[in-house]
């Protein structure tokens, strides 16, 4: 049990690291645009266009 007296304060070090990491992520602008980044991975550049059936975005739009 005595090891806890060392291990628990070590938690603080990790905590400081976690906050430093968060601060770095925020300052480097990673959270500035939450709308686009989530979708960027879906834009596969090398995808060949699907021949059929073709997507019909306007159908969806008309409903709204």
């Amino acid at each position: 049990m005595d090891s806890l007296y060392l291990l628990i304060p070590v938690v603080l070090v990790f905590l400081v690291l976690a906050i430093r990491f968060l601060s770095w992520a925020i300052k480097s602008g990673q959270y500035d645009d939450l709308d686009t980044e989530g979708q960027r991975i879906l834009f596969d550049d090398d995808a060949t266009p699907k021949p059929k059936p073709k997507p019909k975005p306007q159908v969806e739009n008309d409903k709204t």
Binding site: Y5, P9, S23, T36, Q58, N61, T64
Partner: protein
């Protein structure tokens, strides 16, 4: 509106707007021919396909915006060093970096398209587009590429770039966003850690724990909770101090008891830790702070992501002016800033007037729709006054500058707007109103209960007061209302209405009158040919249209754009000459044709036909122009402004909900009465200036009406600011957009009716939440006052109560 002559068939694949019937424009996208509504969309779609970026159409979730055909930009002015000084940074590497605002971004696929297209340009080293702020950060090397080229490339694929000059406001928003994320992050991490330690402490309390270990864990919680209290919860303390500084009951906000509870619990726990006595509540403190911050953050995000950054007046004006040093000298492009009153400037056709001025030479038609709402261009000749920000449509004018910057008419309208905004009825949300009294009641009650316990059982007094503060924490009010509003805002967004101010949903539910502007709001501000009546057998309807299109091919006034959509190509016209405010003349084949006013066209008829010619127009409701040749009249064209879709369902919805509708237009013509009659709007007023409109709105408000204003141009900006709720069109001038509480993105007015439905539902849910919160408090408060609720149970009760109202609010999102 009768659409009998030109029935609408299909929607444009690019922008989703209806396609006029005679039109047959297609673009081959991913192996299939897709119909387009105008040459503008066709050109943009072609550029996208040619660039190998047709995947854009697969990725997108919204239709693109229809490109603005009439805007003609002189991008090269943006290469001037003086102009770049405002928005371009020079980097140490020798590259340049510019902030651009991009109009027309509708979804994430636009970001992809822009980034791909621009990054493929030689010399461009970095492109980042932000879909929420509509900003583009672009870095390029000036040796191999220039900015004007980059900007015209943006326009070629359908987006309008403009330099971002509102850097300060943008930076402030960015800073606020990052700071609150950081506060939220610290509170979240702290809450989890303290919570973990708290479990050990509670378990220790049940099973037994060595005093040394208990102390270690308490000190650890203290260390972790300290930044949560003094960094994360700082905004609450600041707001509480501001609220108390007012020392008025109605300014009392929820931050006051929140701050008391946080600071009270924290310092009491610190005291317990240091003296090794009592209980610690660092976990409750951190959790409480975190939940409150989540609510604030959601609210801030809605506020930010919706504020369209465009909107300063300067965005309307050109960056340069063509100054004439002497009357006969060549014009020199100078930055607008260095222009002085008294200077001579040259304004070519298609250019925006940089200043107020007086015409020295030339005559032209000027479109002042931005200011007056009048769709038709006004004739300007020598000694007439022109206004900064309006568009010269026809021919070169030489103008003497009479007013610049702050002294222009445009600026005066802006001041009117600011004043109207100040006078705007202060919207206090239901939750705020209740909360102020609630908070006061809670504070007084805690004091009374505290003093009772102080005499009865002093050591309990502090913890009981704390329990009361925590258990009655108006979280249900402070958290659930923003969540309900955020959920409803995103539901409204899916209907095509972008809400930019928090009060919209609440005010929308109680409106009694809806006031429309005409040009650009009820109508699209684009003339379309409604009727074509050929008078000679040799030409059919289609050929007549083609003849007219050939004549109007290179013109850019509104009448020309009515024919622009037609396939020119059957005929080609030569020797085309424009006659200001009269019409156009050109040679097609061997014949001389004229298109324009009846008088102008009939002048070329042979004498015999001229005398017999019946000049009465076929139907009064439309604007009629004549096409004729030297042989006599060829065809009548009845033009009318097309009506925006969704107005009929909206009006019938209003009638069903007993909301009055009214038409208030700056347009002085009879078109207003005709339109009102067509749509069945009983109250209408034509020729209203911005100040008149504002007065009318104030008059209605004085009668106790809650007014929803739907408008478009700059002339609507003061009214938009003054109305209880205001909605601007997505294609509206930037100023009007920023003054409006909401922006209609999908051009379908019916969305307004749908959003009012959402608003009503939101009101119900907020009321349910408030009722729940009050019932919960009515139950929990006496228990806490009797000392039956320890602070940890109070914290759990508070969280559970918040959870219930939050989940209830999220039902709106379904």
């Amino acid at each position: 509106m009768p659409d009998s002559a030109l029935e609408l068939a299909e929607d444009c694949y690019h922008c989703g707007l209806p396609i006029p019937q005679h039109l047959n424009l297609t673009v081959n996208i991913s192996g299939e021919a897709q119909a387009m509504c105008c040459p503008g969309c066709q050109a943009v779609a072609l550029s996208i396909v040619d660039g190998g970026l047709e995947n854009f159409y697969r990725f997108r979730s919204e239709h693109a915006q229809r490109p603005n055909e009439t805007s003609k930009h002189q991008w090269h002015v943006y290469d001037l060093e003086e102009v770049q000084a405002d928005f371009v940074a020079r980097l140490a590497s020798g590259e340049r970096e510019a902030q651009l605002l991009i109009q027309g971004i509708t979804c994430a696929a636009c970001v992809w398209l822009l980034e791909k297209q621009l990054a493929n340009m030689p010399g461009v080293t970095a492109v980042t587009v932000n879909a929420s702020t509509h900003r583009c950060l672009i870095r390029w090397s000036n040796d191999t590429q220039n900015l004007s080229h980059i900007m015209s490339e943006c326009q070629r694929i359908g987006y309008e770039p403009s330099p971002a000059t509102d850097e300060k406001a943008f930076q402030a928003r960015k800073k606020e966003n990052r700071q609150s994320l950081m506060r939220l992050g610290v509170a979240g991490i702290g809450m989890m850690q303290v919570g973990m330690v708290a479990i050990a402490l509670y378990a220790g309390g049940l099973q037994g724990i060595s005093e040394g270990m208990q102390n270690l864990l308490r000190y650890l919680s203290l260390v972790i909770a300290t930044p949560v209290v003094f960094y994360s919860a700082k905004p609450f303390f600041q707001a509480a101090r501001r609220s108390l500084a007012h020392a008025q009951l109605r300014h009392l906000n929820m931050d006051v008891p929140v701050s008391f509870a946080i600071l009270g619990a924290y310092f009491a726990s610190v005291y317990s830790t240091l003296t090794n006595s009592g209980e610690v509540y660092f976990d409750s403190v951190s959790m409480f702070t975190f939940f409150l911050l989540v609510g604030r953050y959601l609210e801030m995000r809605v506020r930010h992501s919706n504020s369209l950054a465009m909107g300063s007046l300067s965005q309307l004006l050109p960056f340069t002016a063509n100054r004439l040093a002497e009357p006969e000298s060549d014009p020199v492009a100078v930055p607008l800033k260095s222009l002085l009153v008294g200077d001579r400037v040259l304004v070519r056709a298609g250019e925006i007037f940089p200043s107020d001025g007086c015409v020295l030479r030339g005559s032209s038609s000027v479109e002042e729709a931005l200011l007056t709402g009048e769709a038709k261009p006004l004739r300007k000749k020598v000694d007439d006054l022109v206004i900064a920000g309006t568009l010269n449509t026809e021919s070169v004018l030489e103008v003497r500058v009479t007013a610049l910057g702050q002294n222009t008419t445009l600026s005066a309208i802006d001041k009117l707007v600011s004043r109207a905004e100040l006078e705007k009825p202060l919207q206090q949300t239901l939750a705020d109103k209740i909360a102020a009294y609630f908070v006061a009641a809670v504070l007084i009650l805690s004091l009374l209960v505290g003093s009772f316990w102080y005499f009865y059982e002093p050591e309990q007094a502090f913890w009981i007061v704390l329990s009361i503060l925590v258990v009655t924490c108006p979280c249900a009010l402070s958290l659930a209302t923003p969540v309900a509003l955020a959920a409803a805002t995103s539901a409204a967004r899916r209907q095509g209405l972008l809400i930019t101010r928090a009060h919209v949903l609440e005010s929308m539910a109680s409106i009694t009158r809806i006031v429309f502007d005409k040009t650009g709001t009820l109508t699209l501000g684009q003339l379309r040919v409604k009727h074509c009546i050929p008078t000679q057998k040799q030409f059919d309807e289609r050929q007549c249209m083609a003849l007219a299109a050939a004549l109007e091919k290179n013109a850019n006034h509104p009448i020309a754009s009515a024919f622009l959509a037609e396939t020119a190509g059957f005929f080609s016209a030569s020797d085309i000459r424009q006659y200001t405010a009269e019409g156009v003349e050109g040679q097609i084949g061997k014949q001389c044709y004229r298109l324009g006013s009846i008088e102008f066209v009939s002048n070329i008829f042979p004498r015999t036909i001229q005398s017999n010619f019946n000049t009465s127009v076929p139907e009064r409701n439309l604007q009629w122009i004549l096409l004729g040749s030297e042989d006599g009249p060829v065809a009548w064209f009845g033009l009318s402004d097309s009506v925006r879709s969704g107005i009929k369902p909206l009006l019938s919805y209003c009638a069903a909900e007993s909301i009055n509708s009214e038409l208030l237009s700056g347009d002085a013509s009879s078109a207003v009465a005709v339109l009102a009659e067509d749509l069945g709007i009983q109250d209408f007023q034509a020729g209203a200036k911005p100040a008149d409109k504002l007065a009318r709105i104030h008059g209605l408000q004085a009668l106790g009406e809650k007014v929803l204003m739907v408008g478009d141009g700059i002339n609507d900006a003061p009214v938009l600011a003054g109305a209880d709720v205001s909605i601007a069109m997505g294609a509206a001038t930037d100023l009007a957009q920023t003054r409006a509480d909401a922006v209609l993105l999908n051009n379908n007015l019916q969305a307004i009716a749908r959003v009012r439905g959402i608003a009503l539902k939101t009101r119900i849910i907020i009321r349910q939440n408030v009722t729940w919160a009050l019932c919960y408090n009515a139950l929990a408060l006496p228990l806490a006052a009797l000392g039956m609720v320890p602070p940890w149970a109070a914290a759990i009760g508070m969280s559970a109560s918040s959870l219930v109202v939050t989940l209830n609010a999220l039902r709106l999102n379904r």
